[in-house]
């Protein structure tokens, strides 16, 4: 789960990380009020879940209240990579002497949280990693020990080289780690972390992602969720125990297991078809899930054929068959469906489907081929 910059800044503040004053605005009137309240140079920043908003013109510096209003007018309502800007953050624009990057991320290789820091702040860390990897300091944090003072100090020393700044940066690093762990974060970046000409250290922009698996114990974070339309569908599916991602093809797929679902999509493409979605019904044997999944699938008007690919392990094929039959009793459709069942209780499932008059095939590739053919036939109707 992602949150907006303004939400990350608010979390930073809660944990005692210094952030310049700001006001979230939804209208030009609010932008004007905010600029009057802050009463100095401000920066107006689009709040959207898309990278590269700076290049897209979504961030503007405003020296006067009129500038701020003009910036607000330009940014509010603009489109950034398909996202409409519905709110902007009007923030105190502190003067910047130097920009740094600090970030925390779950590291698959070390199986721990890794702290990354760089004196190249204000740009995407991936670019720094590509162009000057030697400028990234990395530290793998022992989860049982936490980020130790001396470790934070060593890193801050490498960035700032001045004890007066190091003394401000050490608690920022420690608090960011605390925030990260306590909120079950999977990414927490301060970029840039800035040093002002008068020697103050501030977090300017923040980016935080959270572990979806841990949201059950993070009500405060869950409350920050602001999904867009596509995400809302995915979340609704998730709440039903399904993993759903809309794609732009015409063959609806219902598969159990993420790997098999990906392989199914790959195969449809390999055979010249075009998948309408990724839909993983997961690993449990609940017929209701199949009903829910079919409802979502057939709710997509692009779908011209459905390929069901189940290899039963924890999922029982007879449950899937029962769910499918129930679903098709409720949702009347003329869209052709191809079903492939293998594994746990496949025999029982296939028998049920045959009794219900549903077409079944013997293998995944056969299912893909038939689904592609049927989708073309359906289009020709």
């Amino acid at each position: 789960m992602k949150i907006h910059e303004y939400q990350a800044r608010e979390l930073f503040r809660q944990y005692g990380i210094p952030v310049p004053e700001d006001v979230l605005c939804h209208t030009i009137e609010e932008v004007e009020q905010a600029a009057r309240k802050l009463n100095r140079m401000v920066v107006v920043k689009a709040q959207v879940h898309a990278g590269g908003r700076g290049k897209a013109g979504g961030v503007k510096l405003a020296r006067t209240i009129d500038d701020a209003i003009a910036a607000g007018k330009k940014i509010l309502g603009m489109d950034i990579k398909g996202y409409t800007v519905e709110k902007v953050l009007v923030a105190d624009a502190v003067e910047i002497d130097k920009e740094f990057y600090v970030g925390l991320i779950n590291d698959r290789n070390t199986k721990s949280v890794t702290l990354m820091a760089s004196s190249e702040g204000g740009v995407e860390i991936e670019e720094v990693a590509k162009n000057s990897p030697e400028k990234i300091i990395k530290l793998s944090i022992d989860p049982l020990v936490g980020l130790l003072d001396f470790q934070a100090r060593d890193i801050a020393m490498q960035l700032f080289g001045n004890m007066q700044h190091v003394r401000q940066a050490v608690p920022i690093l420690k608090k960011l780690y605390k925030l990260y762990v306590e909120t079950d974060s999977s990414l927490a970046e301060i970029n840039p972390l800035v040093l002002t000409p008068d020697g103050q250290v501030y977090a300017i922009d923040g980016k935080m992602n959270f572990d979806d698996n841990a949201l059950f114990r993070q009500p405060q974070i869950l409350a920050l969720r602001e999904p867009d339309e596509d995400e809302k569908k995915e979340i609704a599916a998730n709440e039903k125990g399904l993993s759903y991602i809309k794609l732009d093809g015409d063959i609806g797929c219902m598969v159990n297991g993420a790997g098999l679902a990906m392989a199914t999509i790959d195969m449809i493409k390999l055979y010249g078809g075009s998948p309408a979605n990724f839909l993983d019904i997961g690993g449990s044997s609940n017929p209701q899930k199949v009903i829910d999944a079919m409802t979502i699938l057939l709710g997509d008007s692009n779908v011209k054929a459905v390929m069901i690919n189940i290899f039963g392990g924890i999922t029982r094929c007879d449950d899937v068959a029962r769910g499918l039959i129930s679903a098709l009793n409720v949702i009347k459709t003329d869209i052709p469906i191809v079903v492939r069942l293998s594994g746990t209780n496949a025999e029982e499932g296939l028998t049920l489907l045959k009794q219900a008059g549903l077409p079944t095939v013997g293998s995944m590739s056969e299912a893909a081929r038939q689904a592609i053919e049927l989708s073309k036939a359906y289009v020709q109707k």
Partner: protein, 293 residues
């Protein structure tokens, strides 16, 4: 021979009185797995399909000598169950539970290391040494004893591949589903090493996914250390970037973890990558024919 488990493995089922635990305990036992005990706090003294249930892992290990444990408890209790197994003296833990918070696994990892406990999973289908021991939720009937080792980040995709192998009369030594979570226990390299040292295993199938760089690391390891042939398959070759596909593992971000990079790494290591699962048996046969020539 085989790796990790065999007919002498004494299995404990944590969460045996839950819906899934109960169902799969019975199936594992029916397959022939030596299921010696179950654990469910407060249900000590009960029996599930003749399997004695204990209140704690420590009690179960003391009474039955269990050495391996499979975990079916809900995700929010999974990390504690893994640790209970580890502190209880279990040497191999298989965590089936799906949706375990990443920070829990990060915390568990160094403790298991200290205790000398091996972990497979979480969010994995388990492992099987065909005709000896099945641990987890794998459909036993598709496996067959033989000489192929298999490692996979996926669940059902593994079954698909195994099915192809068995239909092609290529049996398996041990098949391991390592799970798709970002922080997991045994991984490709650990298992490749075990297969390399297992005299029965003649070739290995490695099933990868987009996301992370474990496949790239495995490719390098194969090039440097493996004498046995390896064939790979990567799921998610056509997945759109930035989308998370079910597994926490299956996420592509910022130009790393893509299928292209993984396939290139395998090519460099001399590991053929199948275009679809059905191709794997043929690639294996070619590799084996070459190796025994």
């Amino acid at each position: 021979m085989s790796i990790l488990i065999n007919k002498n493995t004494k299995l404990l089922v944590q969460g045996i009185t839950g819906r899934d635990g109960q169902f799969h305990a019975k199936r594992m036992k029916a397959y022939g797995t030596n299921v010696v005990a179950g654990v469910s706090p407060g249900k000590g003294g009960e029996q599930i399909d003749g399997i004695p249930v204990f209140n704690s892992v420590a009690e179960a290990v003391k009474a039955t000598g269990a050495d391996t444990s499979v975990i079916f408890v809900p995700a929010n209790f999974a990390a504690d169950a893994i640790l209970e197994a580890s502190y209880g003296g279990i040497k191999l833990v298989i965590a089936i539970s799906e949706g375990v918070p990443v920070q829990d696994m990060i915390k568990v990892t160094p403790i298991l290391k200290k205790n000398g406990t091996k972990l497979i999973g979480p969010n994995c289908p388990g492992l099987i040494t065909p005709e000896e021991s099945l641990i987890g939720i794998l459909p036993g009937m598709i496996f067959k004893k033989g000489n192929i080792g298999l490692i996979s980040r996926s669940g059902t995709l593994t079954y698909e591949v195994v099915n192809q192998l068995t239909l092609s009369d290529m049996g398996q030594t041990t098949c391991v589903g390592i799970g798709g979570d970002p922080i997991a226990g045994l991984y490709y390299i650990d298992l490749l090493e075990m297969y390399e040292n297992d005299p029965e295993t003649k070739a290995i199938v490695l099933i990868g996914e987009i996301g992370g760089d474990a496949e790239e690391q495995a490719a390098q390891y194969i090039a440097e250390k493996m004498t046995k042939p390896v064939v790979a398959f990567i799921a998610g070759q056509t997945a759109p970037p930035g989308k998370r596909m079910g597994h926490a593992g299956a996420i592509i971000s910022s130009g790393s973890g893509t299928a292209e990079e993984k396939i290139a790494a395998f090519a460099k290591a001399g590991v053929p990558v199948a275009k679809e699962p059905a191709e794997i048996p043929r690639l294996l046969q070619e590799k084996l024919a070459f190796a025994t020539r």
